[in-house]
């Protein structure tokens, strides 16, 4: 019976997909960098929004091609450094084993999701000083916030690329960007996971994938094949913190790329990364609200990991495999037990990671992208000794495709479809597993 219902839902989505595919018209406007340099999205993005080598170097070099047409004086006067990105989406979500007044239920709902937009403002102010400002939101709740804002100083020491400095709210240099994920519904579990019994009881809300306020030091060689990044920042959403210096957190990342002149593997990469995100657990308050900058008794969430990327086939149309594996630890000072009062028994430790595959089939004009990912979390030491060893273990599968209907030096519009499934051990009612499934169909466009 359930299988029959799922089939009906699938068929409805399939019809919807065909309709969208046939009738969507390309948007016509001007994406900032594409217009500025007359390059299509494909120049910088292996598969939008994942950067390729050229795009990574362009970003690391402060959005400069360094051929005399970068800054506001030498660029064509028509260049206006603003682009818009939005994804109208049909989203169906079902979550199992939820407690309601009518008993334990599986709840599913679908419809056109409330969309928000990204205003992407970025460019070069003057030689070797660039900027990015991203107001985001504008959804039905009326909220707008600055997702990102920074100034970036490149080649700080003479003409060396080995020291560039970014100041402001920025995305730390993750193995795979949390803001440029190929999928649009689920983030990387590794970045946001915190141990806790019950799930969600951890004081720390630090999310590696979120932008952090602080300073980044970044360097690389001439072709951007060896690179490092070190960020000092205030952990996202930490109460009692004011800036990167009163409750400092640290992130480091080193990458080395290898290229092969012949053979099926065109490129490979290995890297290491680590972060210590400190959260104040005590602070002065005013009317019960923590006073910014007054935090103390810092407690750390740390993650250390390795990564490897392999590009099989030509880099222009590769099968790109990304492996990331990390060990995480949250200090017990961040954790309380089930009663919400008693401190946890011990630090919470876990291992997690993901395997992601992105394939751009070598077909004319590179319209297609197929992708899939498996994320996992495995708890090692539960903070509460009595908790089941596999409590809050997570497995997430994502599968999808993207068809670029049109791309130009002005815009890109793509049909995007994906399904995902997240299973979390023991967090449902009465210790049952909880599974969340998403089906998403969207039109993703930027101009």
């Amino acid at each position: 019976m359930r299988r029959k219902g799922s089939l009906q839902v699938f068929l409805r989505f399939a019809v919807f997909a065909v309709v969208m595919f046939v009738f969507v018209s390309p948007a016509s406007a001007i994406p900032a960098f594409a217009r500025k340099y007359s390059l299509r999205c494909t120049a910088c993005h292996e598969a939008w929004p994942v950067l390729n080598d050229f795009g990574r170097a362009f970003r690391d070099n402060g959005y400069q091609l360094r051929l005399g047409r970068d800054d506001t004086v030498t660029a064509d006067p028509g260049y206006w450094p603003v682009a818009v990105h939005i994804t109208p989406t049909y989203l169906y979500t079902k979550t199992t084993n939820q407690l309601t007044d009518q008993g334990v239920k599986d709840i599913g709902s679908g419809g056109i999701a409330d969309a928000s937009i990204d205003l992407l403002m970025a460019g070069v102010l003057t030689k070797n000083i660039s900027f990015l400002v991203v107001p985001t939101g504008f959804a039905s709740d009326g909220n707008v916030h600055l997702e990102s804002y920074w100034a970036y100083f490149t080649r700080v020491i003479k003409d060396s690329d080995w020291l560039n400095i970014r100041v402001g709210q920025h995305e730390i240099d993750l193995p795979a960007s949390g803001h440029r994920t190929i999928d649009l519904t689920d983030g990387y579990l590794l970045y946001s996971y915190h141990p806790g019994v019950p799930s969600g009881s951890n004081i720390s809300a630090y999310d590696m994938g979120e932008n952090q306020r602080g300073v980044e030091f970044l360097g690389h060689d001439a072709t951007d094949l060896t690179r490092y990044s070190v960020s000092v920042f205030t952990a996202h959403d930490s109460q009692g913190s004011a800036n990167a210096w009163d409750s400092p957190s640290f992130y480091g990342h080193f990458q080395k790329y290898f290229r092969f002149k012949d053979g099926p593997v065109s490129e490979a990469e290995v890297g290491v990364f680590g972060v210590v995100a400190n959260y104040p657990t005590q602070f002065l308050t005013s009317a019960g609200t923590p006073i910014p900058g007054s935090g103390s008794n810092l407690q750390a969430s740390s993650r250390y990991g390795v990564e490897a990327n392999v590009w099989i086939g030509p880099t222009v149309a590769p099968l790109h495999l990304d492996f990331v594996y990390a060990h995480g630890m949250d200090k017990k000072g961040l954790l309380l037990t089930s009663d919400g009062v008693t401190p946890a028994d011990r630090n919470g430790t876990w291992n997690g990671g993901f395997v992601e595959a992105i394939w751009v089939p070598p077909a004319d004009l590179l319209h297609w992208t197929l992708f899939g990912r498996y994320d996992f979390i495995r708890n090692q030491n539960q903070p509460e000794l009595t908790a089941a060893s596999n409590y809050n273990n997570q497995d997430q599968y994502t599968l999808g495709f993207r068809y670029t209907i049109a791309y130009s030096i002005r815009d890109e519009v793509a049909f995007h479809a994906e399904v995902s499934s997240l299973n979390v051990k023991g967090v449902g009612f009465a210790g049952l597993d909880q599974r969340t499934e998403n089906i998403m169909l969207g039109v993703d466009f930027a101009y």
């Binding site: 050229f54 005399g68 012949d262």
Partner: protein, 260 residues
Amino acid sequence: MTNRIAHNLPAIVGLLLVMSAASAAETGDVKTGKLVYERYCMSCHGDQGNGQGEAAEYMSIKPRDYRQGTYKWRSTPSGSLPLDSDLEHTLFNGLYGTYMPTWKVLDERSRRDVIAYIKTFSPRFAAEKPQAAIVIPPDPGYSDASVARGAAVYVKYNCSQCHGAGGQGDGPSAHELKDDWGNPIVPYDLTKGHVKCGDQSTDIYRVFMAGLSGTPMPTFSDSLSSADAWDLVHFIQSLSPGYAKNFAGTVANNPSGDKK
């Protein structure tokens, strides 16, 4: 599942790396080169290689039309096809002041493949071979005397007619020039601190001897001695305020290292 992946990961990566060294190809792959072209080049140079991509109409310096096999930047004599290394040089360095970026961050394989594909736009590459590269004698060295002699050469060969007396690309004929495709073309401003075809002194020398095919810039190989050519190189370098920084190849021969 997790343990299995972790356990086999080194073996998988190792196998792929070994496979990568298993074969060798000396020339680029046209089929892959077409994909490289579509990803990076087509928006300017067009899907037919005719220089009429979607971006071309917005550009004051038009993208190259590949169909004639006529290339500005060559190491070969005027009229000859370029060598693959010439095309690689342009891809690697870009063309300063134009929309042609440097593609040095691309892997060598992609550059090799796209060169193979670009050559398919012109039947000349199948019918004839490029001539040998022009031999460039060693740079005798930058000096005040050489710059002075170069200034005289600049006058003798009437370079100012197009490039202007001060080298700023504002000579009397500057606004009348057209390329072989009928597009207006302006002489290069030699005071910019960079030269389009490359910042090495040999890059400038090569332009005098090979010319810039498809443009009004002729070859002077029949009339210009190598000594005069080097003096002219040094004079042109002296026009640039960025000389000391950008013309590193010659600075080594210049004891003072100062702009003259």
